[in-house]
Amino acid sequence: MNKNSQENGFRFNLIGRAVIYTVLIIVAVIYLAPLFVMIVTSFKSLDEVRVGNMMALPLEITFDPWLKAWQSACLGLDCNGINGYFWNSLKMVVPAVLISTFLGALNGYVLTKWRFNGHHVAFGMMLFACFIPFQIVLLPMSQVLGWLGLANSTSGLVLVHVVYGLGFTTLFFRNFYEAFPSELIRAAVMDGAGFFQIFRYILLPNSGPIIVVTIIWQFTNIWNDFIFGASFASGESAPMTVALNNLVNSSTGVKEYNVHMAAAIIAALPTLIVYIVGGRYFVRGLMAGSVKG
């Protein structure tokens, strides 16, 4: 028994390791290919797109497709580009993420540290809400949004995303607070701390990791949503995903693939940035969650 066999993992011979690396790198190339094609296409002129190879680097780099996508591409009759829809998405995602995360934290706190009879039922009902296919709520929701005067508005979408995000945010915080020592809470109660004081001064300061995970999760889900946006916000108030789909799929006349790709990258940028900046924490959080589940 030598020292190496004490370590985890396995020892492969040189050929074995070469095979592993080759497979991993080929897969990486395949995973990157669509993104690579999107980026190079977005810097080509339409003529070059039509005659050239999809994988080839642009002969002449042009920023026109990006400018056009941002400010002058036509979505139906309106030729102001996608910038307005980008702001729509931003105006929707920020309040929706903050509100649903805050409520999820409070719910998780109650469901772990202030349990009452029936807390299992309450949590189970919220948990199931995470998994419903949204088709089941589309028809009633569009009616209710109409009654509330929130149809075709960003505030309407904020409401929708807060409601259907609650299950997940509650789940995340509940699982996180489950592991938080209850003795600390009991000691604080002995010292006369109230419900909100304990939350504010004991739990919140220790919630950093789960707040990051929840915000990343909610941000990507809400930014990437299509079905609610397409069902409840058409025209001017549509979010970015709906606008991108309109641009790509209903443009009549010449298909400007380079403009489409630029618009797709713009639509993908916020979540990609969030993922690259916060992804490490997210993967860590996900792993903690999946090991448990």
Partner: protein, 306 residues
């Protein structure tokens, strides 16, 4: 004196009220969220179920129609196609994601130098919207300009790839794009599972001279049962909900070749003015998801009680 007494009575009452408030506070804090879920999830489910038994067409109405909409749903050819497609797409998507995810996780678990970077690379598609993914793959698989042309330019002159416009093959392009998007996520779940496995048994087997593949098939993979279960639940649920990807990649076409229940529901409810049929298709989707999710959640919650 008497005023003092009444004061102290008042004081007592307020104390009582505060005491009651303190006891009820947790419930009061949870109440708004719970009420919202009750109304917007469970209330809406009942509402949609009712609509599926109504005469609703262009506008929802509440006249009872019995099973009429359900019969209409099952007599619709597109619905049959959508179910067949869900079966093809769902099974291939789930199997491929599990196999690729597990393989990548096992390979990445061999003390790879670039593990962090590669992991990030495999996972990034998950950060993208299905609409972006669909747009990208639509361009990548474009029969005239995309992969086909590129391969021909690289010298494979007879290379043909027109699945996107072939009614018999289009559903498989949805599988490709779907697997590309989700397999990295499955990999991350398996990787987490692999890291959680006790090393002592593995080392014991190594000392006994068991070959690596046997250690994996006999010891490691069987221990990943719970991860398989979680991944399966996530994938089933993603497959049944798949909507955006199809809309962006094929628009459900050519013809109805890539229609799925989710796209069927949307088009019947919002563009074909068949709200009743749309509602019954939505109820069917919910039943399918619930049949898988409810037993799972039940066992999970029961497990956590212990």
């Amino acid at each position: 004196m008497s005023s003092q007494q009444s004061n102290s009575v008042e004081q007592k009452n307020t104390d009582k009220a505060i005491g009651w408030l303190q006891i009820q506070l947790p419930k009061l804090v949870l109440a708004p969220s719970f009420t919202v879920i009750l109304l917007f999830v469970y209330g809406f489910i009942i509402w949609t179920v009712y609509l599926s038994f109504s005469t609703s067409r262009m506008l929802p109405n509440y006249e009872w129609a019995g099973l009429e909409q359900w019969q209409r749903l099952w007599n619709t050819l597109t619905w049959q196609t959508a179910l067949d497609n869900l079966l093809i797409f769902g099974s291939l998507y789930i199997i491929l994601c599990l196999v690729i995810g597990l393989l990548l996780a096992i390979l990445l678990d061999q003390k790879i130098r670039l593990e962090g970077g590669l992991r990030t690379l495999y996972l990034y598609p998950m950060a993208l919207s299905f609409i972006v993914t669909g747009t990208a793959w639509k361009w990548f698989l474009n029969p005239g300009l995309g992969l086909e042309r590129t391969m021909q330019a690289w010298g494979f002159e007879n290379f043909e790839f027109n699945w996107l416009i072939d009614p018999n093959m289009a559903i498989y392009t949805v599988v490709i794009a779907g697997v590309w998007q989700a397999s990295g996520f499955v990999m991350a779940m398996f990787l987490a599972g692999l890291r959680g496995i006790d090393n002592e048994i593995i080392q014991a087997a190594q000392i006994d001279g068991a070959p690596t593949w046997k250690i994996y098939t006999r010891i490691i993979i069987p221990q990943l049962g719970p991860v398989f279960m979680s991944a399966l639940i996530v994938l089933v649920h993603l497959a049944i909900k798949s909507f955006d990807l199809v809309i962006a990649l094929t628009g459900g076409g050519p013809g109805n070749a890539t229609a799925l229940p989710a796209t069927f529901m949307y088009s019947y409810s919002f563009t074909r003015n068949q709200i009743g049929v749309g509602a019954s298709s939505a109820v069917f989707m919910l039943i399918t998801v619930a049949a898988i999710i409810v037993p799972y959640l039940y066992s999970e919650l029961k497990g956590s009680k212990k």
